[in-house]
């Protein structure tokens, strides 16, 4: 009882170490929820475009702007050039289109007026350019046939209405689980951070040489004390995991989290929490002081989160980084999250790859428990 009391007293004293990563996780969860789309039907990407029209808004010019409006999101209120440049840099605006003076008449009379485009980098910019190029090519081709502006507009409209049928080959709409995937990927940082900090601080307090020597000669059975400490560490981990799961219901929504998918995410995070506990317990055997614990926590939690794709999706990571990440449990946890999010059926064949990832995470837990025993025995002899 005395040991348990001391344990939870230290937890409460260091509650700020839990609050910070939890707030970050909550913020991240809220951001994840706001960005979702369905995959059951085709939805064209709509790049955001700013138009500077130096011509009158009539005839072909008006038609061109209406066409852009139909296929993109037209943004206004960017008269300030610095603001526009910043928006282009941060890709809040994908392209800026300058429609020249007399555009409608020059185009009608086959003078092929020059349209200036400034765009950001990337795929959305390419899409915006393709879209604008399509309109201008059509307009220029018909302008060569010497027809009136009105005829030109109706011919362009007729051509632009031709669209291709796009079908999506997906048995289940799994896109809604992407936000849960992002939340639980990020949770790997919070779990590692909270567990390492708290467990190491508590264990370092108990493992302080003077205190340990006092405990060794006290009437309390040292094995019993270790058992109580281990039990409380597990209890703390379980409570923290339950809190993060409850938070996910709040952040992601019960409609997703209280389904088979949600439970698989929860099971995966529970296994990872177990692994994080074993890692924290292993680190605590080195009896680091409080300031060193923070350094170790930062390097391990931030390092594995950056290297395994908790912050930046794994597909964007260099191959060498991913190859190294294979030695970290976070990699398998994040991999499992990705496989759960893309799961289309709940049969054994579909679940097998996920179960393999689970098994690897359990394997890491066993490995760290084994290492903890070896190191602890060695250190006990030294003490």
């Amino acid at each position: 009882m005395i040991v348990s009391k001391a344990f939870w007293k230290i937890v409460l004293k260091n509650i700020s170490s839990i609050i910070t990563p939890t707030i970050i996780l909550l913020l991240f969860g809220a951001i994840s929820v706001s960005s979702t789309s369905s995959t059951s039907q085709f939805e064209a990407a709509e790049p955001s475009i700013v138009i500077f029209n130096h011509d009158e808004n009539i005839g072909l010019t008006k038609n061109f702007i209406e066409y852009i409006d139909k296929h993109a999101e037209i943004k206004t209120d960017y008269e300030d050039d610095d603001r526009l440049k910043d928006a282009l840099f941060y890709e809040n605006v994908i392209a800026v289109v300058d429609i020249p003076e007399n555009f409608h008449s020059d185009m009608t009379f086959n003078h092929n007026p020059e349209v200036k485009i400034r765009s950001s980098a990337g795929y959305s910019a390419e899409l915006a350019k393709t879209m604008i190029s399509r309109y201008l090519t059509t307009a220029s081709a018909y302008a060569k046939t010497n027809i009136s502006e009105q005829e030109l507009i109706s011919k362009i409209d007729a051509q632009m209405e031709n669209s291709v049928e796009v079908s999506i080959d997906k048995a289940v709409d799994t896109s809604k689980y992407a936000k849960a995937e992002r939340y639980f990927n990020f949770a790997s940082y919070s779990i590692l951070s909270c567990f390492i900090t708290i467990i190491c601080l508590i264990m370092s307090a108990f493992n302080r040489t003077q205190l340990r020597k006092r405990n060794l000669i006290s009437s309390m059975d040292i094995k019993k004390m270790n058992r109580v400490l281990l039990k409380n560490c597990c209890l703390y981990s379980l409570a923290a995991w339950a809190f993060y799961f409850a938070l996910s219901i709040f952040a992601i929504g019960a409609d997703i989290m209280l389904t088979q998918y949600g439970l698989l995410f929860a099971l995966n995070s529970l296994l990872f929490a177990g692994c994080a506990t074993s890692i924290a317990y292993f680190i605590s055997t080195f009896a680091l002081d409080a300031s060193a614990v923070n350094g170790v926590q930062i390097v391990i939690a931030l390092g594995s989160s950056f290297l395994c794709g908790a912050f930046v999706p794994a597909q964007y990571l260099p191959d060498s980084v991913l190859a190294f990440a294979h030695v970290l449990p976070s990699y398998y946890y994040i991999n499992a999250n990705s496989k759960i999010a893309g799961l289309e059926a709940f049969d054994f064949d579909a679940l097998l790859p996920i179960l393999i990832e689970f098994a690897i995470v359990i394997g890491f837990s066993v490995l760290f428990i084994f290492l903890t025993n070896i190191v602890a025995k060695k250190r006990q002899k030294i003490a």
């Binding site: 840099f89 349209v115 081709a141 007729a158 669209s163 291709v164 930062i298 931030l302 964007y316």
Partner: protein, 386 residues
């Protein structure tokens, strides 16, 4: 006496391992992590041809115009996609394995697309198929209009069609691309430099605490020593400033020359901004140490809070700078982290230096205000009892 005190202050600072870890080593570790995580982000942002398949069955081969025109989009350096010709079964397999973004097949005289998920690549593919299909329709349309114009006369239909093909194939849109593509990931590193800079306020805070009789025992000794207080305070602050500035310059050179982060070419101004940022951080540390009559750890928490909130607003966590600029436009204009980040951003992205000088000037102004407030509070401090 000044240099004697300066030398020992610097030595004492370097011996404080935790302080050196958080202010010097930690930004280097973070820069390495950033580099590993963000190294390919910019590559992904630059458009590269993506993989698609075309079901090359008899039905598809019938439409020669489409076939020829579509294949040109998959040729050369400027190609939109890499095309793999296959049968329907193989295309389906490639799609399910995630090896292609979609495949095109013919259904009657129309073309259809099958994809696995929504995205920009899929939209580009749809647009490209529409554009090529449209070209064939335009040729028909232009030719038929020409024939209709000459109704009742003998016309050479073949010549009309050839002319229509020529019109469509030779038409190029007159687009002038004035894009100035930059690496958005650089901002993450700019905000990291700014964060490292402001985290350095802990150094001057620590050095000032050593001179404060109401906080440390060393401060009590300093207070009763015959050495002028001004000499002790200024040498301590200069020691903190020196360590911070050198570590920042090392960090900038490390990120620029080892990690390949782009800062622009104006090295003197890059270093000047680091010097001004260090000055602001030193003054902030001094101010917090003098104003707050609390524990050293509490002062460090405030420094970390100012730094982290500033970093969040400056776009360190996921490039949300613009979002916060729209939401609370004044924050990044007075936050030192925001000003330093924006200073490096303006050196990198803008040719005109006005914005850089505004940021630099604001940093000097903040430093001056913090210095005046600190000195006002520090002067004539007398203690009846400590």
């Amino acid at each position: 006496m000044f240099w004697h005190s300066y030398k020992y202050s610097l030595k004492a600072l370097l011996k404080n391992r935790m302080m050196v870890f958080w202010t010097v080593a930690f930004p280097f570790i973070l820069a390495l992590f950033f580099n590993m995580a963000f190294a390919r982000l910019h590559d992904f942002d630059v458009f590269e041809p993506f993989d698609i398949a075309v079901v090359n069955d008899e039905e598809y081969k019938k439409d020669e115009i489409f076939d020829t025109a579509f294949k040109t989009l998959g040729e050369g350096d400027e190609r939109l996609f890499n095309i793999e010709l296959s049968d329907m079964e193989h295309a389906e397999e490639l799609l399910n394995d995630g090896k292609i973004d979609g495949y095109v097949y013919a259904k009657g005289d129309k073309k259809e697309i099958k994809i696995k998920e929504n995205g920009t690549n899929q939209t580009v593919l749809k647009m490209a198929v529409e554009q090529v299909s449209q070209s064939a329709k335009m040729i028909d349309d232009i030719a038929l209009s020409e024939i209709a114009k000459n109704a009742g006369q003998m016309v050479d239909i073949s010549a009309i069609y050839q002319n229509a093909v020529k019109i469509v194939s030779e038409t190029e849109p007159n687009i002038k691309d004035e894009s100035h593509v930059m690496n958005m990931v650089s901002v993450e590193f700019f905000s990291l430099i700014a964060m490292a800079c402001m985290q350095g306020a802990m150094l001057s805070c620590e050095m000032m605490n050593r001179c404060m009789p109401n906080i440390t025992n060393r401060g009590k000794r300093v207070a009763v020593a015959p050495t002028r207080k001004g000499v002790i305070v200024s040498s301590n602050l200069l020691a903190g400033y020196t360590l911070l500035f050198i570590s920042l310059i090392a960090l900038i050179f490390f990120t620029r020359y080892i990690l390949g982060v782009e800062y622009g070419d104006n090295i003197p101004l890059i270093c000047l901004l680091a010097a001004l940022g260090s000055l602001t951080a030193t003054m902030l540390g001094m101010f917090l140490s003098v104003i707050l009559k609390t524990r050293e750890s509490a002062k460090n928490v405030i420094v970390v809070l100012v730094t982290m909130v500033g970093s969040l607003f400056a776009g360190m966590f996921g490039g949300m700078k613009l979002f916060f600029d729209e939401l609370l436009p004044f924050v990044n204009k007075i936050s030192p982290v925001g000003l330093i980040t924006d200073g490096y951003y303006s050196l990198y992205y803008y040719e005109d230096l006005t914005r850089f000088w505004i940021n630099a000037g604001t940093l000097v102004l903040i430093s001056a205000i913090l210095f005046v407030l600190s000195i006002k509070s520090l002067r004539r401090q007398r203690y009846d009892s400590i």
